[in-house]
Point group: C2
Chain length 537, copies 2
Amino acid sequence: MVASLRLPSLTSLLFPATTRYPATLRRTLSLRNRPASGFATASNSTASPETKSSEVDRLRSDRAVTPRSQDFNAWYLDVIASAELADYGPVRGTMVIRPYGYAIWEAIQEYLNVKFKETGHSNMYFPQLIPYSFIEKEASHVEGFSPELALVTVGGGKELEEKLVVRPTSETIVNHMFTQWIHSYRDLPLMINQWANVTRWEMRTKPFIRTLEFLWQEGHTAHATLEEAEKEAKQMIEIYTRFAFEQTAIPVIPGRKSKLETFAGADITYTIEAMMGDRKALQAGTSHNLGQNFSRAFGTQFADENGERQHVWQTSWAVSTRFVGGIIMTHGDDAGLMLPPKIAPIQVVIVPIWKKDTEKTGVLSAASSVKEALQSAGVRVKLDDTDQRTAGWKFNFWEMKGVPLRIEIGPRDVSSNSVVVSRRDIPGKAGKVFGISMEVSTLVAYVKEKLDEIQSSLLEKAVSFRDSNIVDVNSYDELKDAISSGKWARGPWSASDADEQRQKKLQSLPSPTEEGPLTIGVSIGRICGTLSCCCYW
Amino acid sequence: MVASLRLPSLTSLLFPATTRYPATLRRTLSLRNRPASGFATASNSTASPETKSSEVDRLRSDRAVTPRSQDFNAWYLDVIASAELADYGPVRGTMVIRPYGYAIWEAIQEYLNVKFKETGHSNMYFPQLIPYSFIEKEASHVEGFSPELALVTVGGGKELEEKLVVRPTSETIVNHMFTQWIHSYRDLPLMINQWANVTRWEMRTKPFIRTLEFLWQEGHTAHATLEEAEKEAKQMIEIYTRFAFEQTAIPVIPGRKSKLETFAGADITYTIEAMMGDRKALQAGTSHNLGQNFSRAFGTQFADENGERQHVWQTSWAVSTRFVGGIIMTHGDDAGLMLPPKIAPIQVVIVPIWKKDTEKTGVLSAASSVKEALQSAGVRVKLDDTDQRTAGWKFNFWEMKGVPLRIEIGPRDVSSNSVVVSRRDIPGKAGKVFGISMEVSTLVAYVKEKLDEIQSSLLEKAVSFRDSNIVDVNSYDELKDAISSGKWARGPWSASDADEQRQKKLQSLPSPTEEGPLTIGVSIGRICGTLSCCCYW
């Protein structure tokens, strides 16, 4: 894995996924066997992880999601609804991130925020309203972004003299401010980050993957030399890569975008691309070496050690709430979500089981003790002690929510001072172990070990899925074969724009204006020259 | 203090501040003795708390801020610039929150986020684009907010069919979603919070205090009964009050807004009002009992235990980046910012002092050890070891930044294995203690004790300032006297709208449309019937 974290020597080749991404604009929800009121009815409480009983009533009959194999996209939307991750907002293409989905985003934020600070970046906040003229200053930036801008034209009841752009990304306003803060080489490097919402007027939207508004972090740095900027851009894609592997168990492929897919305004775009369960590629994070494009457009200059005025060299880098979608589509199965323990809002759910009232007290008291023991040991644990639901119902519910480990405690377990532990990632009896001692140190050690095992196991499974779906190709015919079998291809590529466009056309891939820019031409150093096509962006 | 946390029995009386708030739209900076390029030049690096030497060059000559007594508003803006808390954005009335200012906001977030979760609220995220028709649904809401809306009318290059409001607050969209999630009493209470940006087209702006866009948290809850909603609204204003006292050392006065000043759409608005250094009042946080106003407008209903449909009872509550402004204006002095240790990004700065190169190694090595010892003990500490600045310069610089404690280490201290400790809140020699042992446990204990002392001392000073500026009045003449001497008045008030309007007019207070709504009619239970007028909102 360490090796695969290395950044590529950039040889690239073209590989698009077979099927056209069936973007659904506002799926009017098709959560099968549901009451006519549809999507919203199926997900009835934001107060996750607390289960509300009326929602539970609905979920009981509606628990099943569309099988992944039958319709991956429908499965994805069903899981988002049933696991209460998100809902549609009233404006087309917008998304409400519900508490359980937001908690996953919080786990992502927590990890990255620390890493950014460790590497010398400070958080700050730029206004989201940007004068339209700013966007026009960098030629390829305006070309890339103008089709997807939201414009504020009225403020305080009056038509504005200059229309304002609702931030689609902040390079322009950042440079406007940097010109005021940067004067000499002593002011460099300037390294900042902001956690913010951004707005892009997307035509085809899909919860978490592509929405009109999304949450992200955007890092922006300015340096005295190209070398420093390049080092920073690579450092950040490496932090993202490590995060993806170690926290989310997603074996992303770090690489460099083709020229056509490079960020509007960047010289080089590094990317991490992830293979989803349907073998489509997801652009999960990017880091741009912006060269001097924005500093020339905005006049962001510094006096070097000889007193000469120079334009700064810049980077920007981002990951967004899209990552949550990547986690769902990498690990989920027909039973629902499957969360890697490190980013799971609830790592362990305890389900107490009793039949007679005489058993209840003993079972609940044991369950509470177990909960406290795990909580004190830093495990994120939930005790589901409602008596309005059967144990079986609860099992299914928390499986849908993707909780990595379940602890079952019944009257017999209480007598034997032990518990039953079930793994979410190994279905049925194979994942179930009986007779784990309730003794605190034993139980805590066992649970922690199992959580680690699950974390590793999810990554291994994803790596093996990824690698079994990448084919080495040496000719154009082999490339076409690989593509028609729905796999990714890895091989030499001239990196020509013409090749890339021809290939996109051949695969009937959506054009950038219809679907948003495509990701083509990821390459991996170690295994030399891959390419993937990202149909999600 | 515990007593003053109690919520009021609501008797209110009118008291406006004497002077009209001299709102400055875009102060073209007036940071005296500065180069012509002005404000931006004075603040040269976002990489706080790292000091950059070129910025330091500028600061050396420009360190002095306008004295508070001479022009409080100019002093406030100077401190924001010199302590590098914020800068102006390119769009009129917007603000860039710089790293040092943002770190204070992060400290606020960290504390409140935990308290919200402890009291059963979950974070989530609602889209910021709201259909205009939503705003119109609640009569007083649209009246209150329509003058200050930013409208998106163009998206993706096309004129939109329905114009969209950039979130000024989220009650409407929250209710739209709540109708889909709430069905029966089992779904209640529903208690959520979001950290977000909001946009209000303010005419008179001032960094942190009132900006076109600001950051805040907004809590939203739905309950089965009025009693529960009222309890929640009070609980949240109590959490804010405790936060203000214990973390920010601001002795806010919790109370209830007059009818005229109640939030547009609420039945009751609770508020915490703080007395700034110029004796103006600042509305620092609000908690609204919304009654059934929004649930009736949006049809947010639940089936009660008898199966009857009922409208939910709701609350909403918020604090914003304005709190940072409150901290500046409560504690700052002519030397700059003064931060309460609990929310200071840097609690202790270590300034090593040497003259000869032979002394340097010993001094720096001792300084590093001290830094590590404090850091390991959980103290937020900064070692300023640059050799481009004199110790005296550094003293002033970190005083401007409001760092609560300074540790000085020179060659003689190294020999005697001791340090000198200076308090930011006690100027000159009186705040300086020599010969504190470098021995780790002694030093750590001393530093922690001093930080606690400073925290308490700032609160005491603010309480005493506040109380010496509140006058008990028993007649209208006494009220007028109090006001003309620039104080707050406390006394009986009929709570009539007519009285309030007359009083506002008498004091030439800005009208709500010009300046934003005013805060009138805060009352305190313990000291019975106060009222203040908040000129900052």
